[in-house]
Symmetry: C2
Subunit: 142 residues, 2 copies
DNA sequence: TTATGTGCAAAGCGTTTGCGACCCT
DNA sequence: AGGGTCGCAAACGCTTTGCACATAA
């Protein structure tokens, strides 16, 4: 009934409007990393009167509350639409198949340690980081 | 006289207009990672009649020819303007001071190896990648 | 009830493009 | 001479916002 994200909203003390519930549901159920337009279209099947402005406002709100994570993957040299995913407790990086646009998640501990170490070595503390691997499926033979 | 980038343009067989020479010069001399507007303003001091449309067209052209590298750093959760730098022969990653917006370059071999290894492990070949560390200058004491 | 959220349409911002004039080779 | 390039302004795609109405708490 109440989606995982809706639950998070309650915990954070957000007012729960019908639209927000719908958007929370859509994103709770998303296995991919949908952009605003996709969220809008999926939400529209549950509430045909929802407006895209509300979707923009809501994902932004959720992001500010740390409920969602925003990504700006570069698909063809250019960033196109922002994409969203539930802000997971565990950090992970992204691997993007440039031919299909599919996004895979991965976590590599040595890599994480290295990032912090590099920042420290240069006299900084790591606040955030972004690692995206743009890849192509390996061919067996050429 | 002829800037480094202008030289590269000649080698790649690009037609060298006055505007392109100016933009090549500006970017050859840039120690930072200027955005289009900054390139435009610097170019305008050398050629007051240059238009921003030409700057857009030119950086795009240069990028397509592998002469420039485009970056879309996320400064405040959002990507704002694209920034450019000379496409260096040697690859490097970026470290962005979120308080000043300054960009530093670094290269870490173990990190590079790791990126390729991760992609391979997941059955892909690495085509491109992007690693950005968003950092804050370390305080000596709080 | 009342502060907050919504829908609509218009505006904003970075970037691209159609077009006629202009310039490099 | 002639095809590529330029400047201008209009158009574009994504995102935000002003305003009047609706709604959760």
């Amino acid at each position: 009934m109440t989606s995982r994200l809706e639950q998070t909203c309650v915990e954070k003390g957000l007012k729960l409007t019908g639209q927000r519930k719908v958007i929370a549901k859509v994103l709770s159920e998303a296995a991919d990393h949908p952009d605003v337009n996709q969220v809008y279209q999926r939400a529209a099947t549950l509430d045909p009167k929802i407006s895209i402005a509300t979707v923009y406002r809501t994902v932004r709100l959720f992001e500010e509350y740390g409920i969602l994570q925003k990504h700006e993957f570069a698909v063809g040299g250019s960033h196109g639409r922002a994409r969203y995913e539930e802000a997971d407790t565990d950090h992970h990086d992204h691997l993007i198949d440039i031919e299909t646009g599919e996004v895979y998640e991965f976590l590599d501990e040595p890599l994480e340690k290295l990032k912090t170490a590099i920042a420290a070595r240069m006299g900084f503390e790591l606040v955030d980081h972004r690692l995206e691997l743009y890849v192509r499926r390996k061919k067996n033979k050429v």
